[in-house]
């Protein structure tokens, strides 16, 4: 009886050893996989942009073999009309850049003010309809851009043609329509960022100011506002970036002569692949990198002042 008991234990031991070996093998496969995946993922994320930048400096027009370094394509962009691309001229490009800046600065200014106000309201006050407003505010973030674009296009079309029938004058889409549209989707982002900042804030600070005799107005300007300012700045930078980058909504709300840079670039790159477009794209990559650099620097500084 003792012998059979011993045998049984040995059998389970063998079984466990097999299982252990399998488990260890599995762990090795898992570990390799865990290290291989990021290599692949980062390659996937970065390769397209690196290739784009690299081939904007390529001597030949080929996009698969690098034959030598040149700045020709950059010179071309800024030297007036580019060869066969009659759609392209330096003047048009700079004009669209100017339009982009007009739109983004205006939309950012409006949505920063309105977004901050609504964030304050939602974070500090209670009133009927607050929950509904809260969920409506979140909608422009999730509704597909194309829906927002075409709904505004139909809306403006309807309002403008109605206006024409009652007053006889025709209004055309332009900066005003693009700015209105950009404010719609940037308000939500400003509100989210500022509200996060408000809820991070210690409410005792406001109570203390009031206890010391400051009225609401003074409490706001001397306590709340300085404390949430970094949030407002971060929110407006986010709004500016989103507005500057937006293509879809702008595409449906812009009129003749008010194309922004993304709309202009879309017109180019829909047609062909040329080294000049690679060069413009590279400049846009550089610009957004600089913009992020600035915003990170600002946030870094605000983190220091917070601490």
């Amino acid at each position: 009886m003792a012998a059979s008991q011993f045998a049984a234990t040995e059998e389970t031991l063998h079984l466990n050893e097999g299982k252990l070996r399998r488990d260890l093998w599995m762990r090795r496969v898992g570990t390799i996989g865990l290290y291989f995946n990021p290599v692949f993922a980062y390659f996937f994320l970065w390769a397209p942009i690196i290739v784009l930048v690299l081939f904007s400096f390529n001597q030949s027009r080929s996009v698969s073999t690098f034959t030598g370094f040149t700045l020709d394509w950059y010179v071309n962009i800024f030297s007036g009309v580019v060869g066969a691309e009659s759609r392209f001229s330096t003047e048009l490009m700079l004009g669209s850049l100017r339009n982009s800046l007009i739109v983004s600065f205006s939309a950012t200014a409006i949505s920063t003010v309105i977004g901050t106000l609504v964030a304050l309201s939602l974070a500090r006050f209670n009133f009927p309809g607050k929950r509904i407003l809260d969920s409506i505010l979140f909608l422009p973030i999730v509704i597909p851009e194309i829906t927002q674009g075409i709904s505004l296009a139909i809306f403006f079309n309807t309002v403008f043609s109605y206006w024409q029938t009652i007053s006889g004058e025709r209004i055309f889409p332009g900066f005003h329509t693009i700015i209105i549209a950009h404010v719609v989707f940037t308000i939500s982002f400003v509100a989210v960022v500022v509200r996060a900042r408000l809820s991070d804030m210690n409410p005792r600070l406001e109570e203390a100011a009031r206890d010391l005799g400051a009225n609401e107005w003074r409490t706001f300007w001397e306590v709340t506002f300085p404390l949430i300012l970094p949030g407002i700045v971060a929110g407006s930078l986010l709004a500016f970036t989103l507005s500057l980058d937006d293509f879809v909504v702008t595409f449906f709300t812009s009129g003749v002569g008010t194309s922004t840079l993304p709309v202009f670039v879309y017109g180019l790159l829909k047609l062909t692949v040329t080294p000049e477009i690679n060069a413009i794209s590279t400049i846009m990559v550089m610009l957004s990198t600089i913009l992020i650099g600035i915003s990170l620097a600002l946030q870094g500084r605000s983190a220091v002042t917070r601490g």
Binding site: K19, D23, M26, G33, N37, P38, F40, A41, Y42, F44, L45, W46, P48, I49, L52, V63, S64, V113, I114, L117, V118, L120, S121, L122, R124, F125, N126, K130, L133, I136, L137, V142, I143, P144, E145, I146, T147, Q148, I150, S151, L152, F155, T158, I180, A181, V183, V184, I187, D245, V248, V265, Y266, L269, K270, V273, S281, M284, V285, S288, T289
Partner: protein, 284 residues
């Protein structure tokens, strides 16, 4: 006195919210309501809508356009699954790095390409996947193919573009979930005899599901509504709902039909959102 202060506060809150509420009401909700109305109108000769009301647009959407509708959903679903397969291990890898700055740097490397203009990022794939692009050249040099194969203007290209465009939306919520996960649960599972595979599928994965759900919703919704990606990479074979909607505007368009298409798209988005909220609340 107390009641008066309370009323004043309520009024102040409403006043502060008023500009945003008005803006959204006028330029967001009202336009959506108009789209809903136009979607029931008849096409006027100039492409806009006119009376009488009709259901014909929806009939056409479900009849003529159901192949494209169905294909868009399939492509969006496939892109979401691929994002999950790439994004989960990546998020897991990043959030299990020991040093804080390494984690921050790895996340930064995911977000940075994402801040490049969407058009430019999509265009980059046109460069890579073209007939004389790097992808074809690479395959030719390996001897896997004898002549360039068509990669651009296919559904494959669109899915690659969608995965590329929205991968960070998958990585970030999962990263947040795994970072909050307490790895002592894994030790406990091991002590109880579970191997790594079981520990992962029975402990880690279920507890990081909120991040997975959030990531899937955040990827699936913009994929369903995609317009730029199929437009630049898909040609005619990779057409999606977004392209159909766009074609109904301008020149020889059909605004009521375009409106019906976008209402259907909105319904799909809303259903996805509701499913996400349901799953989220059930788990918590």
């Amino acid at each position: 006195m107390e009641a008066l202060a309370e009323r004043r506060k309520r009024l102040a809150g409403m006043l502060l919210a008023l500009p945003a509420a008005l803006w959204l009401l006028l330029f967001f909700l009202l336009p959506l309501a108009i789209v809903l109305i136009v979607s029931f109108l008849t096409r006027a000769p100039n492409g806009t809508g006119e009376l009488p009301f009709t259901l014909a647009n929806y009939e056409r959407v479900l009849d003529v356009f159901s192949p494209v509708l169905w294909r868009s959903l399939q492509m969006a679903f496939l892109s979401t699954v691929i994002c999950l397969l790439i994004g989960y291990p990546l998020a897991f890898f990043i959030s299990t790095r020991k040093r804080n700055w390494v984690r921050q740097f790895c996340i930064f490397l995911v977000i940075l390409p994402f801040w490049t203009n969407f058009l430019v990022r999509t265009y980059a794939w046109r460069v890579l996947l073209g007939d004389d692009g790097i992808a074809n050249n690479f395959l030719l040099n390996l001897g896997l193919i004898s002549e360039p194969i068509q990669l651009l203007n296919t559904q494959f290209a669109v899915i690659v573009g969608l995965v590329y465009g929205f991968l960070p939306f998958m990585v970030l919520p999962i990263f947040a979930s795994v970072e909050r996960f307490d790895f002592r649960f894994v030790d406990a599972a091991h002590d109880l005899g579970a191997n790594d595979l079981r520990a992962f599928f029975e402990v880690i994965f279920p507890l990081t599901l909120p991040g997975v759900f959030a990531g899937c919703a955040l990827v699936f919704i913009p994929c369903v509504g995609a317009f730029v990606t199929p437009d630049l990479l898909g040609g005619t074979s990779g057409l999606m709902i977004g392209n159909l909607i766009q074609r109904q505007f301008g020149g020889s368009g059909n605004m009521p039909l375009g409106s019906a298409l976008s209402i259907v798209m909105m319904v799909i988005v809303m259903v996805t959102l509701l499913a996400y909220v349901r799953l989220g609340t059930r788990r918590s």
